[in-house]
C-alpha cells in the first residue's frame, strides 16, 4: 500500500441553497478542489462521489456520471463511482478513493460529496432520512432517525445520570465555532437556554439538539505521497482509514450506548496510523444529534464510557481544551448535507493542519481525526490526517 496525501480541498457554503442545483454545487466544490491542488481536469484518473439519496431528494440517480459530465471530465471517460452508506456516504467515498490510490490503481483521484435536501419539505426529509434505518422493523412502526437517537439519549440519562444541560453543551460549542466559519450554515452563537427551550423533535432531543437539513458539497484531491510535493508544499497525509459495520436496526445492538462500529473503525484507523487517541489535537466527529457527539467522544476513546457528557459540559472539547472537537461547527452548525458531510469533515481538518482555519485555528495542530456515521450507527468511518 502506498502512502496517500490530500493535495487539494474545496467546498461550498452549506445551507438552504435555493438558487443552486445538486449538479451546480457538486461542480463548485470539485472545481475549487482541483484549483486548490493546481492540477487540470486532464490529470484526474478517477472520480468518487458520496451521496445518500439523490434518487429520493431530487429523483436523480446515476450521480457519478452526472458530476463527471458537468465537471467536464467526460472527454477522457474516467471511471466515476457513486458511493452510499446513509449519512456516512461522504467518508466512505473518501475511503474508496484512498484505497484506489493506495493500491496503485490510480494516481490522481477526486473525491466529492454532495446532497441537495431542501427541494423537498421537512416531512419528506424525515421520511428519506429514515431510509437509512431498518425500513421493515423500525420505520414501519413509526421510528424516525431522531427518535432512535432520542432513545439512546434517554437510556444514557438513565444509566449515567446525564442531563439535557450537559447535552446542550455540544450544540452551544458547535454554534460558537461555526460563528467563525464563513462556510457554515449557522454563523451564530447560541445560549444553552435556546437549546433547552426549543420545541421537541423527539423527547429528550429538541430542535437545537439536531443537525439541520442542508444543501452543500465538498471535495478533495488525492495523490500518492511520492508525487504530492510536486503539487503542493503542504500535502496532508491520510495516515489511517478505518471502516466498520453494525446491525441496521438499533434494537439489535449489543449495547445501544456504544457504537461498536465507531469503536472498531477508530481502532483500525489509529492502529494503521501508529497513533494513540492522545495524539489527536483536532477532531470532526458526527454530531448529527447532541448525544451522538458525546457517545463518539467515548467510543473513539477521548474519555471513558459514561463520562462524555461531563467531559463536554466542562469545556474539554472547546478550542483550547483537551481536544478541539468540531471546529467547523460540526453537523449541527456547519450543516449536514448528508453525502457531503464526511468530505467536509476532511476539508476542515486539512484547513486546521495547514494552519488556514483563521479565527478558529487550533494552534500547532499536526494530527487530526474525522468520524462519520450512517443511520443509527450501522456504518462508521474514521480517518486520521497528519501534516506530512
Amino acid at each position: 500500500m502506498r502512502d496517500v496525501a490530500i493535495i487539494g480541498i474545496g467546498d461550498t457554503v452549506f445551507g438552504e441553497l435555493w438558487d443552486s442545483s445538486l449538479r451546480k454545487i457538486g461542480i463548485e466544490a470539485g472545481i475549487a478542489a482541483i484549483n486548490d491542488a493546481g492540477i487540470s481536469g486532464d490529470d484526474v484518473d478517477a472520480l468518487y462521489v458520496g451521496n445518500m439519496s439523490a434518487g429520493k431528494f431530487i429523483e436523480q440517480e446515476h450521480l457519478a456520471a452526472l458530476i463527471a459530465d458537468y465537471a467536464g471530465l467526460t472527454k477522457n471517460h474516467i471511471p466515476a463511482t457513486r458511493v452510499e452508506a446513509g449519512g456516512a456516504s461522504g467518508a466512505l467515498a473518501l475511503r474508496e478513493g484512498y484505497l484506489s490510490v493506495a493500491s496503485g490503481a490510480y494516481d490522481i483521484v477526486v473525491v466529492g460529496g454532495a446532497e441537495k435536501m431542501t427541494d423537498v419539505g421537512d416531512d419528506e426529509i424525515t421520511k428519506i432520512q429514515a431510509a437509512a434505518i431498518d425500513q421493515e422493523w423500525e420505520s414501519v412502526f413509526g421510528a424516525t432517525l431522531p427518535s432512535l437517537y432520542a432513545m439512546i439519549a434517554r437510556r444514557y440519562m438513565h444509566e449515567y445520570g446525564a442531563t439535557r444541560e450537559q447535552f446542550a453543551s455540544v450544540p452551544v460549542k458547535n454554534h460558537a465555532n461555526a460563528a467563525k466559519n464563513p462556510k457554515a450554515q449557522y454563523r451564530k452563537a447560541i445560549k444553552p437556554e435556546t437549546v433547552l427551550n426549543a420545541s421537541m423533535v423527539a423527547d429528550p432531543l429538541g430542535m437545537f439538539d439536531c443537525s439541520p437539513n442542508s444543501d452543500g458539497a465538498a471535495a478533495v484531491v488525492l495523490a500518492p505521497m511520492e508525487i504530492a510535493k510536486k503539487y503542493t508544499d503542504t500535502p496532508i497525509k491520510i495516515s489511517g482509514s478505518g471502516q466498520a459495520s453494525d446491525t441496521l436496526a438499533l434494537h439489535q445492538r449489543r449495547d445501544i450506548l456504544t457504537m461498536d462500529a465507531t469503536v472498531h473503525a477508530s481502532r483500525m484507523a489509529l492502529k494503521q496510523a501508529r497513533r494513540e487517541v492522545k495524539d489527536i489535537q483536532v477532531a470532526e466527529v458526527n454530531d448529527n444529534y447532541s448525544i451522538s457527539e458525546i457517545i463518539a467522544l467515548e467510543d473513539i476513546g477521548f474519555v471513558e464510557k459514561g463520562k462524555g457528557a461531563e467531559f463536554s459540559y466542562s469545556g474539554q472539547t472547546m478550542i483550547g481544551g483537551k481536544v478541539a472537537v468540531n471546529t467547523s461547527g460540526g453537523l449541527k452548525a456547519r450543516g449536514n448535507p448528508l453525502g457531503a458531510t464526511g468530505i467536509a469533515q476532511a476539508v476542515e481538518i486539512v484547513r486546521q493542519l495547514r494552519g488556514e482555519a483563521g479565527e478558529r485555528q487550533v494552534d500547532g495542530a499536526t494530527v487530526g481525526l474525522t468520524h462519520n456515521l450512517g443511520g443509527s450507527g450501522s456504518t462508521a468511518l474514521v480517518h486520521i490526517l497528519e501534516v506530512a
Partner: protein
C-alpha cells in the same frame, strides 16, 4: 408506500411475533434470520421458529413530535424499545398511556393494531404495538 406482498410476507412476525431460536446456542432473534450471527455455519438448519410471549419491559422510549406525513395524525406518539422476556429487543409504539406516565422498566405487552394505510382507500397494514400491563 410499497406493494401488498411487501407487507404480507412479513405478516407472521408482525401479527404473531414469530422469531427464531438458534438450536445450536439457544439465542433468540426477532425478526427471523437465516443464520445465527454467533454460530454461523453451525446454525444452518437449526434456526427454528419461536412465538415470543409478547411480554416485556420498556428499555428506552421517546415522544415523537416530528414525523413523516403518514404518522402525522398520531403525533405526538410514544415510541419504545422493549426488552422482551426472551431477551430480544423490539421497537414499536407504546399506546393507551400518557407520555408522562411512561418510564424505563415499565411492564408492557404486545397487541395487534393498525400500523398504516396505503393511501386513502388502500389496504390497511397491521402489526404489533405495546401497551402497559398492571404490575
Amino acid at each position: 408506500m410499497g406493494s401488498i406482498p411487501r407487507f404480507w410476507r412479513e405478516n407472521p412476525s408482525r401479527y404473531n411475533l414469530v422469531g427464531v431460536k438458534c438450536n445450536n446456542c439457544g439465542r433468540v432473534f426477532f425478526p427471523p434470520r437465516e443464520i445465527c450471527p454467533v454460530c454461523h455455519r453451525k446454525s444452518i438448519g437449526k434456526m427454528k421458529p419461536i412465538h415470543l410471549s409478547g411480554k416485556g419491559s420498556v428499555y428506552s422510549y421517546t415522544v415523537v413530535e416530528d414525523t413523516p406525513e403518514e404518522f402525522a395524525m398520531l403525533k405526538p406518539y410514544v415510541l419504545a424499545m422493549v426488552e422482551m422476556e426472551e431477551g430480544v429487543k423490539i421497537t414499536s409504539q407504546l399506546i393507551d398511556v400518557k407520555p408522562e406516565d411512561v418510564h424505563i422498566g415499565m411492564k408492557v405487552e404486545a397487541v395487534l393494531r393498525k400500523l398504516g394505510t396505503e393511501g386513502s382507500s388502500g389496504i390497511i397494514h397491521y402489526g404489533y404495538k405495546f401497551r402497559p400491563v398492571n404490575e
